[in-house]
Symmetry: C2
């Protein structure tokens, strides 16, 4: 009986949408991927576990940061986006990006990452398109980011302008 | 009698400091300038009049922005700094800078400007040193900015690294 209820529920699009809402919050979106057995979701609201985020960023070779500082930085970000490999009980974080900014004139995208096992099938593009759309809806005038040499093409292919008017980025580090 | 009281007050360092606090708020600083008849102050708290800010930014050739949007952007900035030419009744805004950021990991400096009549005597350096110090006190790890070709040297001379690791800045515009 219980089994039957589960099977019926999974086929009911209203219930299914409701369940996805509960997992991914308001404004979630599904990403199309080649593998039909995997479902991938973009979420603005699903809470990111900071240890899971650390595993994701160390998987692409970034040095870990103190969890306490990451928590505060996320709290004060304009936008935090997770890419989730769907599981009805425990979705896994396989991508991430966040933005800082005033939400009006300027926003800067930081910490764009897709887990190596999920790269090269369009998730990065989907994530960036989602981020830009969210900032557009807010009405942000200008979005900026800093691209490592290996990913400049990745951003250019999505319509980002590299160094317009010969502007150069300058960095200052605390230590 | 009144005259005398004024003269005495101006010579009393306690009263004088009190008066400067009322004008420039907590954490103000005086900038040293060659002309001994002018006093210049950096302030985090003195309210910037948005029309005065527009006059300042148009004086260096920046196109005006809708006041309503500038107000919202300033409200959501991490730091807003004014450079004021001192007058006991009505200080004039002669310089400006603001930062966006999470206050922990990243901050970006925007809209750095000194009025042309006040350029070349060290105010820009003083303003930037103040901005960096404030962000350091907050504990921000990494500060970034975008420099027009003509001002790259200006930032480099103050210890900013240009395109470390060959990073390039990418821009995306709303219109
Ligand atoms: C950069 C990064 C986020 C890209 O993520 P991704 O999911 O691999 O990106 P995509 O799959 O959307 O695009 C990657 C390439 O695969 C190609 N691709 C897209 N969909 C594809 C598909 N269905 N099948 C095969 N290839 C595809 C794209 O053409 C793209 O090529 P391009 O870069 O020349 O445009 C990811 O490589 C990463 O996390 N890198 C390490 C961290 C990093 O460097 N972050 C950026 C810091 S600035
Ligand atoms: C860029 C800008 C903020 C600099 O402000 P500034 O007050 O002129 O800057 P400073 O006076 O501190 O420094 C300017 C130069 O004058 C020199 N200078 C500093 N103190 C001086 C003094 N007492 N006497 C003579 N020259 C002096 C400095 O060596 C400096 O040279 P450098 O750029 O090679 O380091 C200003 O020119 C400006 O508002 N420009 C238009 C807007 C703009 O381009 N903003 C930056 C956008 S990224």
């Amino acid at each position: 009986m219980r089994e039957t209820w589960h099977v019926n529920a999974a086929q009911d699009p209203v219930d299914e949408n409701d369940r996805l809402h509960r997992l991914y919050g308001v404004g979630f979106e599904e990403l199309q991927v080649p593998n039909p057995e995997r479902r991938l979701f973009l979420s603005l609201e699903r809470q990111v576990d900071l240890l899971e985020l650390e595993r994701l960023t160390t998987a692409v070779g970034w040095r870990p940061r103190p969890i306490r500082r990451v928590r505060r930085a996320l709290c004060h970000s304009l936008l935090v986006v997770g890419v989730w490999c769907h599981d009805p009980l425990l979705p896994r974080l396989v991508g991430f990006a966040r933005c800082i900014g005033d939400g009006v004139i300027n926003a800067t995208v930081w910490d764009v990452v897709i887990h190596p096992a999920y790269q090269g099938v369009g998730l990065g593009h989907g994530l960036m398109a989602f981020v830009v759309k969210q900032l557009q809806v807010m009405g942000v005038e200008q979005i900026t980011l800093f691209a490592d040499p290996g990913v400049i093409r990745f951003y250019q292919n999505q319509g980002w302008e590299v160094e317009p008017n010969n502007q150069r980025c300058c960095f200052w580090y605390a230590c």
